[in-house]
C-alpha cells in the first residue's frame, strides 16, 4: 500500500509500485482529468504537479511520488473559484477538442508560478513539451498572457 497526497487529500492505493502515476490517478483514484496520449513523456497531456513542479505522470512511477503533494487538473480550482489560468482558458475560447488541455493548463500554471510575466519566447520554451493536434497553440499563448495579467499563476 502506498500513501499519496492528491489535491490535498491523503489517498491510499494498492498498486504495483512501478505503475505510472497516470494510471493510478485515472484507474484507481478515478481522477480522469489527467490524460493519456503518448505514454512516453513526449506530449505533455498527462502533466500534473508534484510538489509544485510539472511532471509527466505517464512516465512517473507511483512509488516515486509516495508522500509527495500531487496536484491534478481537478485540484486547481479553489472550491467553486476557478484558477486564473482556467478562467483565462475559458475567456480566450482556447480549446478545440480539449483532450490535451488539462495537461496544457497544468504546464501553464507551473510556468506562471516560475515566471509571472512570461514573454512569447518564454511561453514557447515552457509549453513546447505539450502537443496540441488541433493546433490551439496561438490561443494557448494568448490565454497564458491573459492569466499573467491577473493576480494568479501560482499553484
Amino acid at each position: 500500500m502506498l500513501t499519496l497526497l492528491v489535491n490535498g487529500e491523503r489517498r491510499t492505493v494498492d498498486a504495483d509500485p512501478a505503475m505510472p502515476l497516470l494510471w493510478v490517478l485515472r484507474d484507481l483514484l478515478h481522477l480522469k482529468g489527467t490524460k493519456y496520449a503518448c505514454g512516453a513523456g513526449l506530449c505533455g497531456s498527462c502533466t500534473v504537479h508534484v510538489d509544485g513542479e510539472p511532471v509527466r505522470s505517464c512516465i512517473t512511477t507511483v512509488e516515486s511520488v509516495a508522500g509527495r503533494a500531487v496536484t491534478t487538473i481537478e485540484g486547481l480550482a479553489d472550491g467553486e473559484r476557478l484558477h486564473p489560468v482556467q478562467k483565462a482558458w475559458i475567456e480566450e475560447n482556447t480549446a478545440q477538442c480539449g483532450y490535451c488541455h488539462p495537461g496544457q493548463i497544468m504546464s501553464a500554471v507551473a510556468l506562471l508560478a516560475r515566471t509571472p510575466k512570461p514573454t512569447d519566447e518564454e511561453i514557447d520554451a515552457a509549453m513546447s513539451g505539450n502537443i496540441c493536434r488541433c493546433g490551439t497553440y496561438l490561443r494557448i499563448r494568448e490565454a497564458i498572457h491573459a492569466a499573467s495579467g491577473s493576480d494568479g499563476g501560482g499553484s
Binding site: 498498486a15 504495483d16 505503475m19 505510472p20 494510471w23 485515472r26 484507474d27 484507481l28 478515478h30 481522477l31 480522469k32 482529468g33 489527467t34 490524460k35 493519456y36 496520449a37 503518448c38 505514454g39 512516453a40 513526449l42 506530449c43 497531456s45 491534478t72 487538473i73 481537478e74 486547481l76 480550482a77 476557478l82 482556467q86 482558458w89 475559458i90 475560447n93 482556447t94 480549446a95 478545440q96 477538442c97 480539449g98 483532450y99 490535451c100 488541455h101 488539462p102 493548463i105 511561453i123 514557447d124 520554451a125 509549453m127 513546447s128 513539451g129 505539450n130 502537443i131 496540441c132 493536434r133 488541433c134 493546433g135 490551439t136 497553440y137 496561438l138 490561443r139 494557448i140 499563448r141
Partner: protein, 734 residues
Amino acid sequence: MSSVTKVSRRSFVQTTGLAGSALILGVRSGRAAFPSGFGAEESAATFEPNVFVAIGEDGVVQLTAHRSELGQGGKTACCMLLAEELDVDIADVRVVQALADPKYGRQHTAGSTTVRLNWVPLRRAGAAAREMLVEAAALRWGVSAADCRTGSGYVLHGSDRLAYGELAVEAAELPVPDRPALKDPGDFKIVGTPQRLLDTEDIAQGKAVYGYDVELPDLLIASIERSPVPKGAVRSFNAAAALSVADVVEVIELEPNSSGLTSAGVAVLATNTWAAMQGRAALAIEWEPGPLATETSDARREELERIAAQPGEVARSEGDFDTAAAAADRVFEATYHAPYAVHAMMEPPACTARVDGDRCEVWSATQAPQWTAGEVAQALGIPLGNVTVHVTLVGGGFGRKSKPDYAVEAALLARKSGRPVKLLWTREDEIRHGFYRAESYQVLKATIDAENQPTGWFHRTVFPGIGWAFPAGGTPPSSGELTQGLTTMPYQFPNVRLESAGVPSSVRIGWMRSVCNTFHAPAIQGFMDELAHEVGRDPFEFQMEMLGAPRILVDEEDPNSPYPYDTGRLRAVGELAAEMAGWGRRMPDRRGLGFAMHYSFYSYAAMVADVSVDSDGELTVHQVDVAIDCGPIVNPNAVEAQMQGAVAMGLSLAKYGRITLRDGAVVQGNFNDYPVVRMSEMPKINVRMIEGNDVPTGIGEPGVPPTMPAVTNAIFAATGMRIRDLPLEGQHLG
C-alpha cells in the same frame, strides 16, 4: 433530414411495437443509461415537436446535438442554429448528445458537413417549435399569433409574457407546421456571433468525458496486440505469462471480423490499464506474417512510379492535350510524391461496450455513430435495433474516428468476457494500425507555346482508392476522390487532360482531414508556382490570369448542386490573401512569400506563407495570411479556430507527415518518430472571412490543403529550392 416530423407519445408506443425499444431510447436520448456525471439526468419532457427540441413543464429547454464534437465546434453550431430559430439563449438550454439513430438524418461528422447540411433542417426544427409555442400562447391569450413575438425563451404580447415551459403542455397538442417561417438572416442574434464551444468550461476543469474516460461498474480495461502486418495471423502466444501479471483477468484472441475492419490480435483484459499493458507485453506472440510482409516504402514508390508512367483513366478532357504538346515550343513537367500519413489525434481510439444477451450498448469517441451501430450489430449477429451507441466527446478525430473498428473490438471482447470492457488503443496502436492518408504520385505537365504562353495542362494522379479498405472495394480512385483537387482544376487552359490510376495498398486507407486534397493541392499549387517561374511570371498574378474571368464549374454528377464552384470566389480569396500579406513586397535575403489557393468541401481558401530558411537549412514559418469563403458564417470563433488548426495540421504534414513501411509493418510509433508541430513552430496566423453567398459550406477541412503549397512555394521564393516530395524532414533546404 429536411423536414420536421412530430413524434407524439402515442407514436413512440406504436413504433416501439414494430422496431424494438431502441427507438424509445433514441427519442428520449437515453440519458438515464449514462453513467452518473456523464450527462444530464433524465427528466420527462412535455413538448417534443421534433427530435431536436424538447421543453419540459419545469421550463428546461433541451436541445439535442446529433453531430459529434471533435473540437471543430459542430455540436455548438447545431445548437446555435436550433436556438436561433427557437429564440432561446444558449446559456439557458440543456444540450444533450444524440444516440445513434437514423431519425436524426445523417450523423456522420465528416466531410465538413455539419453546418452545410444542417443549416436549413435545424433552423426549421427550431422554428417549428417556436411557431407552436407562439400559437399556444395566442390561444391562451385569445389573440392572434401574428401579434405575438418571442424573445429569450418567452412568448410576448404587449406587456404579457409566458415562458416556453408554461406553454409546453398546450403546445404539445398542436400540429407541427410543415414549413415554418425562417428568420431573415439580418435578424440573427446568435448565428454569426462568436460563441464559446459548449464544452469549454468542462474541459478547463478536467470534467469533460471522452471515450477514454467512460466508467461503468465491473469494468475491465482491454489492450490489444495486433498483427504488425495487415492480414497477418496469430501463430502462438503465451497466455499464462499475461495472466500471471497482477490484476490481469483474461486473455482473448481476436480474429479479423468479416468487414475487414479489424485485425488479428490478442487482447489482455485487466482491472486497470497498466496491468492490461503489462500483460500484453508478456504475450510473446508469434505471428504468421501473411501475404503483405514483404512490403517496403521503397517498393511502394517504385510501383507508383511505374503505374504513373502508363496512361491512366481519363477523368476530364478539354481540347486536345496531345496535339497541344506536339505543337508546343516546350513541355514543362514535374512529378510530386506524398507518402502515407496518419491522424495522430491526441486521444487514441477508445470505446466501452456492455453486452447483455442479444443487446449491446457502447460508449464511443466516434464520428460515425450509425455506422458504429451497424458494424457492432453485424459483428455480434444481433438486430441493429438492439445496439445503443452513446457518443462521447471526441478527443480529436480528423477522420480516423469515422471508422468503427474499435467499437467492434470492444463489443466482441465484452461478449466474450461477459463483463463491460473499455478498449483503449495506445499511441503506438494508433500510429501502426490506422487507416492512412493514401500515398500518392502525380505527374503534371504544361505545354508552352513560342510566345511563352501556356496552352495545355496535364495531370495524372496515382493513389490507392479508399475502397481498398473495404472487402468489396476496389483500388481505382473514386470520382468523389478525384473531385478533391484533380477534376476541380479551375484554370482556363485551352487543352486539358486529367487522368487517374489506382494502385493496391498494403495498409488500409482512410479519410484524413481534407483527404485527397492533402496531396492534390500541394502538387497543383506547387506546379502552378513552378510554371509561373518557367514562363517568367509572378506566381500570384499568373494564377489570377489563368483563373480568368469568373465562371461556374459544373459538377456533372450533381449539375443542380446548391454549391456550384464559382471561380470568382476563388479569385476573391486569392486576392484578399495576397493583399493581407502585402504580396510583391521586397523580402530580405533567404526569406520569401508563397501563395496557394484551393477549393474543397465547397469552400474557397487562399493563403500566403512568409518563411525564412537560415544558412543551416532551418525553416521558420513566420506568418500565414488566410482568406476563407465558406458562405454565411455560423460561429466566427470556430471558423478562426479551424483555420488556425488547419494551418497547424498542414504544417505538420508538410514538415513531418510520413508513415514508412518495412517488412509490411509501419515503422513509426509515437511522437518521437511521427512528430507534429509544437508551439514554438507556430506562425502568426491572420484570418479574414468572406461571406461569398448565402449558403454555408465546409470549414473543418478546407484550410489544410493550401497550407502545404503556400509553405513549399515560400521555401522556393526564399531559397530557389523546389519541393516536390513531402515531407520536408530529411531534405536539406538549400
